[in-house]
């Protein structure tokens, strides 16, 4: 029995990617520069240019909104000193807090997702706790753990916990019953079913939760540092307010945007690696990301 080529759907995709590949004499590096998608840079670069123009024309006072050129000077000044310490301190807190929170969420989420009576006992309490804003816990955390690192990390871990827990829980509950049945057909015991079917099938949900948890972790690190800290990006923010230096505040904000984007992109990269098997909308259109 022969197999006709039209049965293979992947072929059409291969052709389109071949077309997009650099051809002929263009060197690899130049081609890579040429193929960079710069559409995402138009809005921020345009906004900066307009801002500079407004301040230079005297329409906006530099005390209210410092022009980008001043920001650059401040950045150069900060870059020689405290900026990297602050970034490092915040990033380390996010990393530790997120790691603790998401690991705990994966453990608890798997238990509640797989075990119906655990859901009956635990789900209502979790839903009630989830309704409490993270910041409401701050006073209590400070009483319990003081104003040191522990209270900040617990706050970050708590923020990262819920999105990861919820997504894993719903991921497990949304696994296609038909796939589980295949495992049952081979009389596979529950641990094997979990490892071979339930975990891989709920990975797409889990990754969505992890990325959302990471963004909430950045949110909480700023909140925690605004309240009490001697270093960190949140500390830069409160310093800028106390000194009436909008340029400090803006640089801290830009740092947060860049760090958030970098950490999310890294996660996206891991996600795409782990989930290349997905036949989703974004990869279905001629292999071109939507």
């Amino acid at each position: 029995m022969t197999l006709s080529t039209h049965e293979f759907r992947g072929e059409a995709q291969d052709k389109t990617t071949a077309l997009r590949r650099p051809v002929g004499t263009v060197s690899g590096f130049a081609a890579r520069i040429a193929s960079l998608d710069l559409r995402g840079a138009i809005v921020p670069v345009g906004a900066l240019a307009l801002l500079e123009l407004f301040v230079r024309m005297g329409w906006v006072s530099p005390y209210v909104l410092p022009p980008p050129s001043d920001l650059y000077t401040t950045f150069l000044y900060l870059a020689e000193g405290p900026l990297w310490t602050n970034i490092g301190a915040s990033a380390l807190r996010v990393l530790i807090g997120f790691a603790f929170g998401s690991l705990l969420a994966i453990v608890v989420g798997s238990i509640v997702g797989l075990w119906y009576s655990a859901e009956r006992y635990l789900e209502p309490s979790f839903q009630a706790l989830r309704a409490v804003p993270s910041l409401a816990w701050v006073p209590l955390l400070m009483i319990w753990f003081g104003i040191g690192e522990t209270s900040k990390i617990v706050l970050i871990a708590k923020s990262a916990f819920f999105p990861v827990y919820l997504s894993l829980f719903s991921g497990i509950r949304n696994v296609d019953r038909k796939l589980v049945e295949v495992g049952e057909m081979y009389r596979q015991p529950l641990p094997v079913l979990v490892w071979r079917i339930l975990i891989p099938a709920s990975l797409p949900h889990l990754f969505t939760g992890l990325r959302y948890g990471l963004s909430l972790a950045w949110l909480s690190v700023v909140a925690a540092e605004l309240l009490a800290a001697s270093e960190g990006i949140g500390y830069m923010l409160s310093d800028g307010r106390e000194l009436s230096r909008p340029d400090l505040v803006l640089i801290a904000i830009i740092c947060l945007a860049i760090l958030g984007k970098i950490s999310d992109s890294l996660f996206k990269l891991i996600e795409d690696r782990c989930l290349s098997w997905r036949d989703s909308y974004s990869t279905a259109i001629g292999g071109r990301p939507a």
């Binding site: 029995m1 022969t2 049945e181 057909m185």
Partner: protein
């Protein structure tokens, strides 16, 4: 000797009785077909035979000489949809019963048998419906079963692919001496594949009629005897108020 004996006294979903007093047995080397309209309980009967549905009163006994074990159950199932694990390659899906340490030689043999040579590392998303169903058939054969249960396995593919897949299944099953029980609502398919056809009525009508297909293999789809039998089947279905 019968390989599989199914005796369902009653099977109900809630208050609706789907199957009622049904006895069916599959002889060694036999190709049996359950033919009936949607909702007559034929798929449910097959799921009971496979041990996927245990909420019924009655019994199912499998006598294949060797009892089989978790690694190689004596009964394999081909579902209506391919039901491939989307995160596994074609080869990993075929060897699914053994997980990560599947028998590579056996998997490669099956890949060649179902005509998918060169696609061992392909992911299911790049397969057409017909190819995916070939993988599902290979996965069922991987455990070297004695009995193959097929639940409308060709209903989701086009007519031409369906004919190719029917011939493929017949060839593979004959090579291996496997008996099979196939569920379908396609009369031509039932006549082409089956030695014996059990016709089920609508509702919980049970098995209304059965018929032996006295046509030697390999069969020709154009054979006059098949056309005669088709009119018998249609008459029986009409008598059972299915059509």
């Amino acid at each position: 000797m019968s390989l599989l004996d199914i005796d369902v006294r009653e099977k109900a979903f809630g208050k609706t009785i789907v199957l009622h007093d049904i006895k069916l047995s599959l002889e060694n080397g036999q190709a049996a077909v359950l033919l009936g309209p949607s909702g007559c309980g034929k798929s449910t009967l097959l799921r009971i035979a496979a041990g996927l549905d245990k909420q019924f009163s009655g019994s199912v006994s499998v006598k294949t000489g060797h009892d089989g074990n978790a690694k190689s159950p004596p009964v394999a199932f081909v579902f209506q949809e391919p039901r491939l694990m989307p995160w596994l390659t074609v080869a990993q899906n075929i060897g699914f019963a053994d997980g990560g340490k599947f028998d590579t030689a056996r998997v490669n043999g099956l890949i060649a048998d179902v005509g998918l040579t060169g696609h061992a590392a392909t992911l299911p998303k790049a397969l057409s419906g017909g190819m995916a169903q070939r993988v599902a058939i290979a996965r069922a054969l991987y455990t070297e079963p004695r009995i193959l249960l097929l639940d409308e396995p060709f209903s989701a593919v086009d007519a031409f692919t369906r004919m190719k897949l029917q011939d493929l299944v017949l060839k593979l099953v004959e090579q291996r001496g496997i008996s099979f029980l196939l569920v379908t609502h396609d009369i031509d398919e039932a006549l082409y594949l089956g030695d014996r056809i059990y016709m089920m009525g609508a509702g919980d009508g049970g098995i209304q009629h059965d018929l032996s297909v006295d046509v030697a293999r390999p069969r020709d789809r154009r054979a006059a005897r098949l056309a005669e039998l088709k009119s018998d089947v249609l008459t029986a279905l009409q008598a059972a108020h299915v059509i």
